[in-house]
């Protein structure tokens, strides 16, 4: 195996060995969201004509799980390795910044998609779903997972303690996820919050992903794709630059 393949394999094995916490738990959480929000709002909300609220909610929950778990994988792996000191095992071998970036991000994408698939399997029974454009489903889930994995990588590199990582997660990732239209269409928001949502890249990921199911969305999926791709390119460049410069890793 090459160094890149080994690191990828190790990162997958790392979350797989604690699958109860890294896979089962987020699936159960998403299921609870569906049961509670679905039950309370089913009779009151209809976002797209002909689409029940529970059906509308499922792709949002799937994508939210994909994003949150992709972020959690890279960020927790890095911060744990930094704090326990075993990051040296990765820093001593001849792994390039590309190897590190590729392996960490790809493993996090695998976790994000695994959890997403799990959430989909357990929630799909609750509503009749359609798959109008499955390619968009795949494109947005992979790209979204890669983007959050990269953000997790940056957070993990930057944070020096769990507290700082928690701040990143609770004050940036969580609000951006919740304000992205997981539970509603942004058209139902007041104009100000609609405008705010439009500068949130998470909104485009979820909107585009949902388009793949229903063929309906707030924004054209091509535009969403372009925005997400550009945003990913920018943060990937930043992450690679940090890895190359050794910022907070090689003192």
């Amino acid at each position: 195996m090459t160094g890149f393949q080994t690191l990828f394999y190790k990162e997958v094995l790392r979350f797989w060995k604690v699958a109860t916490q890294t896979i089962t738990a987020p699936i159960v959480t998403a299921m609870l969201y569906l049961l509670i929000f679905g039950h309370v709002l089913e009779a009151h909300v209809q976002v797209y004509p002909g689409v029940r609220y529970t059906a509308f909610l499922i792709p949002g929950l799937v994508m939210m799980s994909v994003l949150q778990n992709a972020f959690a994988n890279t960020s927790s792996s890095l911060i744990q390795s930094k704090i326990t000191g075993n990051l040296v095992f990765v820093l001593l071998p001849p792994l390039s910044h590309w190897d590190l970036f590729g392996a960490y991000v790809l493993a996090a994408v695998v976790r994000g998609l695994t959890v997403g698939a799990g959430v989909f399997i357990v929630t799909a029974w609750f509503a009749k779903l359609t798959f109008v454009a499955p390619v968009w489903i795949l494109v947005f889930s992979v790209l979204g997972a890669a983007m959050l994995a990269t953000m997790g990588l940056i957070a993990g590199i930057w944070a020096e303690k769990f507290d700082q990582l928690a701040a990143f997660q609770n004050f940036l990732i969580m609000p951006a996820t919740f304000l992205s239209g997981v539970f509603y269409s942004i058209h139902s928001l007041p104009p100000f919050w609609q405008a705010v949502s439009h500068i949130n890249p998470f909104f485009y990921m979820i909107d585009g992903f949902r388009y793949g199911f229903f063929g309906q969305s707030d924004v054209n999926p091509l535009l969403s794709f372009a925005i997400v791709a550009v945003f990913f390119a920018i943060i990937a460049r930043l992450a690679i630059h940090l890895l190359k410069s050794g910022y907070k890793l090689r003192h």
């Binding site: 190790k10 604690v18 326990t84 095992f89 820093l91 071998p93």
Partner: protein
């Protein structure tokens, strides 16, 4: 272009296992390394000694690419650790000082993983051999968390050796470990050295350094204060020491110029006196008797690395 070719030829011809050139490193206001230059030749067993905070670990971190120097450069077998980091790191095995491990994996998984990071396939035979030499075989499938400190240390050593690096750096590998591991470790590392591996060692056990290292550099406050063969360093202290512990009386003033060291732990009654000849012992005893001092214990010690270390470190105050 001409210049770079000439440089390559030159660097090949004079290639050291580790070439450290004028390395400087500061952490905020603390100057950890103040222009260190060292050339460690292939096949050497090299000791890097110095008190805590002398800069040994900082220097090793820079050699390993874990830290970046403010200025200066380090090359492993001619490969710059920053510019040609892939080639440099392939040739280097480092045992870090901190007892670190990955709690998710077993010993064998840890070693296979480390081997894979270096791009090695089918390395199980060598992994088994390393585990055998470090007495790890019966712990191969144990989770890292379940191992004792000494066992974790052995795994760290094994991890540094999975890719058979020609240059091995051990940063205080025997700190806080039992005699058995020390002996196992030194037997194995000495064998690797005999087979041609270059070994760089930092330790606070000076008798280990004396027994193992053919050459030693002493570091103090980020500078090399001594660099010589172990034998030449010990020769710097001529003669021996007469250790006398007094039961009664005081050391007479006339003997005070001979005092090398007063053992405060022995209540200030134990003195190490410099003697260059056996003939000097009798007059010392006479002077003690004349001063009314009663000797409780006495022994003659040959000078060793510890004496040299103390002398050099005190001389640099």
């Amino acid at each position: 272009m001409q210049q770079s070719v000439a440089f390559c030829v030159k660097s090949q011809a004079t290639m050291a296992a580790i070439q450290i050139t004028n390395v400087e490193k500061s952490y905020k206001s603390l100057r950890a390394l103040g222009g260190v230059s060292l050339s460690i030749e292939e096949g050497e067993f090299f000791g890097l000694l110095g008190p805590n905070g002398a800069g040994k670990t900082t220097l090793i971190s820079i050699i390993a690419g874990l830290s970046r120097p403010d200025s200066g450069s380090v090359a492993i077998h001619g490969y710059d650790v920053a510019r040609d980091y892939r080639e440099a790191r392939k040739r280097l095995g480092v045992v870090p000082q901190e007892l670190v491990f990955d709690p998710f994996f077993s010993v064998r998984e840890t070693l296979r993983m480390q081997s894979g990071y270096f791009g090695l396939k089918n390395n199980d035979q060598w992994i088994d051999e390393v585990m055998h030499h470090l007495d790890l075989t019966n712990k191969a499938d144990a989770n890292m968390r379940s191992l004792s400190g000494g066992m974790k240390r052995r795994v760290l050593v094994a991890q540094a050796l999975v890719h058979k690096p020609p240059v091995i750096v051990l940063d205080e590998p025997t700190a806080g470990v039992d005699v058995e591991l020390r002996q196992t470790l030194w037997k194995f590392v000495s064998r690797l050295n005999r087979e041609g591996h270059t070994v760089v060692l930092t330790t606070h056990y000076l008798e280990e350094a004396q027994a193992l290292c053919n050459r030693i550099a002493m570091l103090k406050a980020g500078k090399v204060v001594a660099l010589d063969s172990t034998a030449a360093l010990i020769k710097r202290i001529s003669g021996s020491q007469l250790i006398v512990r007094l039961a009664q009386g005081k050391l007479p003033d006339v003997l005070k110029p001979l005092v090398l060291h007063v053992d405060e732990l022995a209540g200030g009654n134990e003195f190490a006196l410099r003697v260059s000849d056996y003939a000097e012992i009798e007059p010392i005893l006479v002077k003690l008797r004349e001063a009314g001092a009663v000797i409780e214990d006495m022994q003659l010690q040959q000078a060793d690395l510890e004496d040299v270390f103390i002398q050099i470190m005190e001389g640099e105050k």
